[in-house]
Point group: C2
Chain length 434, copies 2
């Protein structure tokens, strides 16, 4: 007896069957459409890089999760675990070929050997977009605006983009004499939305004296409108600091574009990551706040510091596509088509396959995608197959498919229109906006 | 002094800068458009699989080239080296979820540690499309027709799709008593176009007696038209075999669709690979025959044989995207845009960035992608930056960008149109079909 290899995939990895892959591609195409309409351009980098490049900053969670191995040429290599580190390497390597400010997007898979019990995948898609080489408020704002445009284009409903300024936070920490613990403080504050106010206070109190911990908790409270919170922060740092001016200018840009309702100034947003130095932001869906941030990022001072002495700053954001897909599914808003075609041509006679393709060619040429069914058989069976493939219409050709009258079957309604010429068929289908 | 990590990528791997990535995406989008218009649907599978799954057939070149390692969970894993083996595993695993005939496409990267001296890459993109679960001539023909449509859509000029039938070849070998050496004979014949007639005859003579070698060389000659060659083959196998009927039917479908000029019956096409059993084909560009086949494939009897006792046959094809990109570049037909936008809005005043974005929003809403420049500076400098980003038009706003008259600069012609309202600006840009 033959023995078979069990067909299975690795834990944390997924197959995408057509409906899921079509849904995924629909989202990606909408995002790309937005990026492109703003003048952002795509790049790509290798999935595999020297481990030294990817692990530069070294250690910690990354080292534990990365897929790293020695290739047949003895090189120490690894699969990329995000798109930021390869982007830094890319910019350092191609600095002379890029016109700054450089606006790029990068949509690609990344790999992390994460604990799958937390509902995480080991292979997932990241969508990053960044503006490199401009310190302007205009660049900060363009990323914020593009985040909003891109997310709204997906049909997830209203969003709250919660923004803060790391520089302002640090200024405040300096003022209360707590700047030297800023990294730990930022990480503690970053947990606020997950662990709550009290637990955060405990974390802070372990780092600082209780008075200072309380002061920090007062500082990070949203005080109402953007302006009110900004006034509260300005007061806490002792007046009109450059970071306050930057936030005020961004607030003005929001008003100028009629987008102010999508933004909240939230001093508790810090982002855990070391490299942010200016604006930081996270994005929540009104209809599904519990899934957490679906799009986050910030401004950084020195992207390429590991690889070169050139200092290049930028501002960028990353969309978590898998989380968004789950959100859209939960909201019942995921594209669930099983095909891009809504029209199928029935197979009445094996030897007429060429003529069915000629008929299909006329429809495709007129902008109507259509699938030619390949096997003869009862029309009811062909109709069931067509419906399984998401077709809405079945074209039933005559003995001479290009000359004889055609029948158009409306599959969900089980009705036929008979005696159609090809032109009439096309007109009917175009009316339905296929 | 700080030490830096040298920014570099692995040999055989590539970065795609925006112009190359835009060109690549343009090709992929055109291909996808074709696949979708025929009712083919996308799938995706993991980049990483159990090595046992990928190496099932085992050994040889694959084993030498595959990126294989042990993951942190002790699993023996590898990066996919093609899209056929993962597809077989996918079908065996999800058999019950697929409606047959199943028409799928899969565009994804694959990895092989090839010898880069032959101009090969270690990371490259494959575009596979297959019809599973139909033995019909209609399915064979649909793949052939889609190959033609897809390649023509890329603008590579005329193509020759050279087809043959492996079953017919085997029938001939049986007739001359050489069937037991068929695998070696097929591989020898597969080399004909590379090594020439004489060297092929030597290879065959090493396998068989010289008379049989000569007979095989006579058999594999193109005799003129499709019909003439088919008549010659029919005679050589002793009459009207089922394979001859299949080829005659395909010839009829070609005539019915007006595509016969793109197809050649070429008995020397065998494809080296074991798993083909029926139709086989390779595609050559008229303008660049020397780059070899850009799209090849065939019919197979048993895709999932390694993983399950279910026998599922199919027919499919694979486009070598990297080779096609090189071809289009050689023909000067590669899309060389540096951006998807042709319109840039100048930055006259830092604090007006919100209003520039509001203006840009109106244009984008009317279907005109446009980039907002982010830094103030001399207009000539901004014009140079815009041109580097492939912009054709620079919009120069007034002090109130949404109310004051606008100037539209034609960048390549260095001419200005002044005093435009937003509506007039949009009309001008729409005339240019942006």
């Amino acid at each position: 007896m033959a023995t078979f290899i069990e067909p299975r995939i690795l834990k944390g990895f997924r197959d995408f069957l057509p409906p899921a892959e079509i849904a995924r591609r629909t989202l990606l195409e909408r995002l790309e459409q937005c990026f492109r309409s703003y003048g952002f351009v795509p790049i790509d980098t290798p999935a595999l890089e020297y481990a030294e490049i990817l692990l530069g900053k070294g250690g910690g969670e990354t080292e534990k999760q990365i897929y790293r191995f020695t290739d047949k040429g003895g090189r120490d290599v690894a699969l990329r675990f995000d798109l930021t580190v390869p982007f830094a390497r890319f910019v350092a390597e191609h600095r002379g070929e890029l016109s700054l400010p450089f606006k790029r997007y990068h949509i690609a898979k990344v790999w992390r050997g994460e604990n799958t019990q937390r509902g995480r995948y080991r292979e997932f898609t990241q969508c990053d977009f960044d503006i490199l080489g401009s310190d302007s408020a205009a660049a900060d704002f363009e990323i914020l605006l593009l985040m909003r445009t891109a997310l709204l284009s997906l049909g997830v409903g209203a969003v709250s983009i919660r923004v803060n300024h790391r520089g302002l936070f640090n200024r405040f920490l300096a003022r209360i004499g707590a700047l030297e613990r800023s990294v730990e403080i930022l990480r503690a504050v970053d947990k606020l939305s997950k662990i709550g106010r009290e637990a955060t206070q405990d974390l802070l109190a372990a780092l600082l004296d209780p008075d200072k911990a309380r002061e920090i908790l007062r500082f990070i409270q949203v005080k109402g409108s953007f302006e009110e919170t900004l006034a509260h922060l300005a007061e806490a740092v002792g007046g009109d600091a450059p970071e306050v001016q930057r936030l005020a200018l961004l607030r003005r840009f929001m008003a100028d574009t009629g987008t102010a309702a999508s933004f909240v100034l939230d001093p508790s947003i810090t982002r855990g990551l070391d490299y942010y130095t200016g604006l930081v932001y996270e994005t929540f869906l009104h209809e599904l706040p519990d899934i957490g941030s679906v799009c986050s990022g910030g401004r950084y001072d020195n992207l390429t510091g590991l690889y070169s002495k050139d200092t290049i700053s930028g501002v960028g954001s990353s969309i978590g596509l898998d989380r968004l897909m789950a959100a859209l599914e939960a909201l019942g808003k995921l594209d669930t088509r099983a095909s891009y075609t809504q029209v199928a041509i029935a197979c009445m006679e094996e030897n007429a396959a060429g003529q069915y393709q000629a008929l299909a060619g006329i429809l495709r040429h007129r902008g109507i995608p259509c699938e030619v069914l390949l096997e003869t058989g009862k029309l009811t069976k062909q109709a069931i197959l067509a419906e399984k493939k998401s077709a809405r219409w079945l074209v039933i050709p005559g003995a001479d498919p290009l000359k004889d009258p055609l029948t158009l079957r409306d599959l969900p309604n089980r009705t036929n229109q008979e005696g159609l010429s090809i032109e009439q068929l096309i007109a009917r289908l175009q009316e339905k906006r296929l």
